[in-house]
Symmetry: C3
Subunit: 435 residues, 3 copies
């Protein structure tokens, strides 16, 4: 008997840099809930993983909503009374209110200010603001610049279009032995924001790549969708399919180095909640957060009419870090190391999902005489193999059809890697069979 | 959308002084478990609320008990060897052992002392003592006076009667749409004691008044009964009726300013336990106490053969304050402010009871597009309406038929006033219907 | 009504010294999982309690195991290069590896050391080591002696036999009114070790003696078996009988004075867990330990194919005290006082088991008028009888068929002695009947 092998070979891959490079490539693109920014993003992903790109026409009814007009933008700027461009969309796409209507006129400072958004708490940062469903025009600028604006006539120009078009999203199914699916969802509607949005896209892309390399009991579905309306649209088009979702995780805010948190699915007793709780509590010093109907797309998947086993994995919490939804959520805010650790956690999660079966002890009366199967020390004392032997004993004792591996890990305190290894050994000698 | 209205308009009434005035009026009357003191008390209440007065003859079997003889008293005093009255029932009705047999004789100090009750820990206070079921005569005096008694012949006189008569209690039913009832119980058997007994009577009376002014889904029953034997008697006469009791609260010790405590009904999972726990934990810094078979009339309502959802609301706990059952529980010990706050809590409780329904989200798949219903902000940022919007989201998410409003309040942490307002708004636009 | 009598009269017996004397008598014998040491031990027990001695032949299949060859030993020693005996089994039977094969040869120091076991952390103590299922020869010595060994030729001699024979165990059934049994298990396979093994044997013996003196609702079975293989053997031979086991307690490590701990049975909701938890938490400041599949024979009784309600009572925990499995677990390590307290706890446990019935209040509507039954004070105030009266009220309130006496003790906080006394009084007056 060797020391238990490290089952989580994914953790040996150095994928942090390739994820970071993808983020750098996607960063300049002006994404929104529809439009060419999304399409360009999906094209770049398609170079890495074979996603399908789905287009759903404006006006299509989707659940209680309808697909909105498509928004595209070419240019946007403000010129001061002296005719100097003091703000330019080309420098930073956050400068325009996302989904802004077009405008091209001269306004005095008072009128201009009614269309300006700033973040007074952080006066050097440009906030990210949207107005998808109320048509208006607007700009976002740093509060410092705002305070310096002088009286006078300003020229404002937003060269945008709101027209019938379509909503675009990307989807990839990687089939496994079972039709039951593990779902990963990331949103693709934010413009130049790195942690919020691009980190999720990058980790999901790398995870899809990884999943193709493993032996899969389950199928894996990856969705790259605009937030809210994208989830609504996908759910609307896939209702007959939803019973196959065994687990789901919404991925967001995974690029910094703050502690992980997992927001549980609304349905309390789900395997995704159990496994993520195990990992965060035992291996990552992370935090488990109760479900609430506020946040990312877990809101839609966990609405009462669906109530799917979908939670959310993040590092910094939604809205709880100062850089959130500002120009400071940029390429300096995320790191290859932060991305890599997020990827590793999710690869571990997948290993556990794949291995988390319920086994039946084939010699349940008394302990089997382990010595005769060659998987137990015969002389005493040494603690090197202590964990492994405890794993054997716990697996045999709790494999009564009531407990899966994750249940046994929780109850025993034995590390799940060791349990999975011991489990394979007990299967080999015929002492465990699948329930 | 306005800021959520204050639903609990009861809290604007200044009823503290009228409750205090009622206590002042009732204070001098010598009540007991039967007799004219109780009848006079009920007559005074009848001037305020239209109670029925019920008379049950002595000797009537009631559950394991029987209605005792009626006790009435005209006078009681002790004269010292010099012939001076040193104690007079007319000055303080606590001076006589409640339910004392008549006596009229000369006794020496030794015999007298065998019939005297004092409270040595508080030597200026006269204790309250009773002997309902063992016939004996006795007086209560301050320990200070007791210590000063000199040898000699004392004249003792108690002009009381124990005769066939009846037990009296008051009852008021205020009907609502439903036959299901909310029950409030206060005891009326204590003589000149303010917090123990009169505070409960006063709050119940004012609450009955208030209930007539609100739109009522439920019926409300108020009982003014002598403790123990009165509850036994009422239960005995109303067995066929008890299934209609949806909640009950025994009211006592509500006139001082100490923190509230709610003693839960014996049956654990009751709405009365849930709502009172919510209010005390979230709004009143009160204490929740587990059921025990010791206390006031919740003992009878929660006996195993009935096991009704009846708890008890008090401030100072039964037997845990020094003034309890002594002459110090007087008009100085209770205040209009203490009474008013108790009344307000109970009015809130009634608002929650009336509003605590279970609703069904009519658009349960995904979140409804709230913007189109006109009950959701369209542009972001401000936190003024944050609570209200969270209320909308929680109500929609948890209105799956499993959760009442109080369940949603507990889980969400959103204040129940805001939830009740948001609930009304969602009903108006058709997004919630009653389960 | 007297003050509640002390029901646990066992606690007045001074049995500590007789248990200690038994330990002193058994200490020199070289026990193992089979052989004459076990037989001699059982003979000595048979002088005190009428056990049956069962012999099961080597080679008998028992569950997943088989009964091993029998081991007996006459002598064992090591002579140094000068021909001096430096270690002798006759001085301390721990010196030989238990189940050692015979050997008689000259070896150099290197080879000798490959057959020596020591305990470096405690260099004056001789460790206890076994090798039941891997045939090898060996000696155990103090690490100090080991360090002093010089180069040269050593003579080693172990005069042992491993032959077809039998495994011996002792069993005693003391019948009660019911066929349902309370099982006490102690292991008898350790040689000169006092706390581990002899303390359990002594307490079980005295307990068997005690049980014959009480009125018994239940039957009591005492097993004196070699660990693991003995439990496996007994279970294998008694499968059809196991449904009668109502509770079981494995007894070990009961002779020192450290706090008690009870390791719960694997099945969570068992009466043995409830009663032991009650006793340890309320009366013994002991510790409750969750089940794990590591320890003494509870491992076998709680294997998933049996899953019996068998826990373990110990003082010092298995493997957690330095003297464990060394020559320091000797006659100085256990005391009559420690043994006596263990015995008393178990006698209390038996009293509670015998008294722990579920009763039904025969007057469940309202409180009965206790005064008329003569079991309730009629005048107030004194706290002497407070506990007793609370016991009456709790028993009446919770005797609805759902709660046994131990449940009522847990919920009420009233001492179980008082509850058992009050229960008897309520039965006498007809207010409680058995469910």
């Amino acid at each position: 008997m060797e020391d238990p092998k490290m089952l989580f070979n994914a953790t040996n891959r150095d994928t942090g840099n390739s994820m970071y490079d993808l983020i750098r490539k996607l960063y300049p693109i002006c994404r929104s809930i529809t439009g060419n920014g999304v399409r360009n993003t999906l094209s770049i992903l398609k170079e890495i993983i074979p996603i399908d790109v789905v287009e759903v026409p404006s006006g299509t009814p989707v659940l209680d909503w309808e697909v909105p007009d498509e928004w595209n933008i070419n240019a946007a700027w403000i010129k001061n009374p002296e005719g100097e461009k003091i703000l330019d969309f080309n420098n930073l796409n956050l400068h325009v209110l996302n989904y802004s209507t077009p405008v091209d006129k001269e306004v005095d400072l008072d009128e201009l200010k009614r269309h300006l958004y700033t973040s007074p708490e952080h006066e050097n940062w440009v906030p990210y603001r949207t107005s998808y469903y109320t048509r208006q025009w607007g700009f976002c600028m740093s509060h410092k610049q705002y305070r310096g604006l002088k009286e006078g006539k300003y020229r404002v120009k937003i060269d945008s279009e709101l027209t019938k078009g379509s909503l675009s999203y990307g989807e990839l199914l990687i089939p496994g032995k079972s039709e039951n699916e593990i779902l990963f969802v990331s949103h693709i509607c934010h413009p130049s924001l790195c942690n919020d949005n691009l980190s999720g896209i990058a980790v999901a892309t790398e995870l899809a790549n990884y999943v193709t390399t493993i032996e899969r009991n389950y199928s894996y579905r990856f969705l790259f969708i605009p937030a809210t309306i994208g989830a609504i649209t996908w759910l609307s088009r896939n209702e007959s399919h939803l019973h196959k979702i065994k687990h789901g995780v919404v991925l967001s805010l995974l690029g910094d180095k703050s502690p992980f948190q997992f927001k549980k699915s609304r349905k309390e007793q789900t395997e995704v909640n159990k496994i993520m709780s195990y990992l965060l509590e035992n291996e990552y010093h992370g935090k488990i957060v109760e479900f609430s109907p506020y946040g990312y797309d877990e809101r839609q998947f966990c609405s009462p009419g669906f109530n799917l086993p979908v939670g959310r994995l993040s590092r910094n919490s939604f809205g709880e870090f100062p850089e959130y939804h500002t120009s400071a959520d940029n390429l300096d805010f995320v790191t290859p190391e932060g991305l890599q650790e997020s990827f590793e956690l999710l690869a571990k999660y997948i290993s556990i999902v794949e291995g988390n079966k319920t086994w039946i002890n084939q010699s349940p009366k008394g302990e089997p005489q382990l010595g005769k199967y060659g998987i137990y020390k015969t002389t005493g004392g040494e603690s090197v193999q202590k964990d492994y032997q405890m794993a054997l004993l716990w697996l045999l004792n709790l494999s009564d059809g009531e407990n899966s591996i994750i249940d046994i890990a929780e109850r025993s305190g034995v590390r799940i890697e060791v349990l999975l290894q011991a489990c394979q050994d007990l299967i080999k000698v015929g002492l465990l069979k699948e329930a």
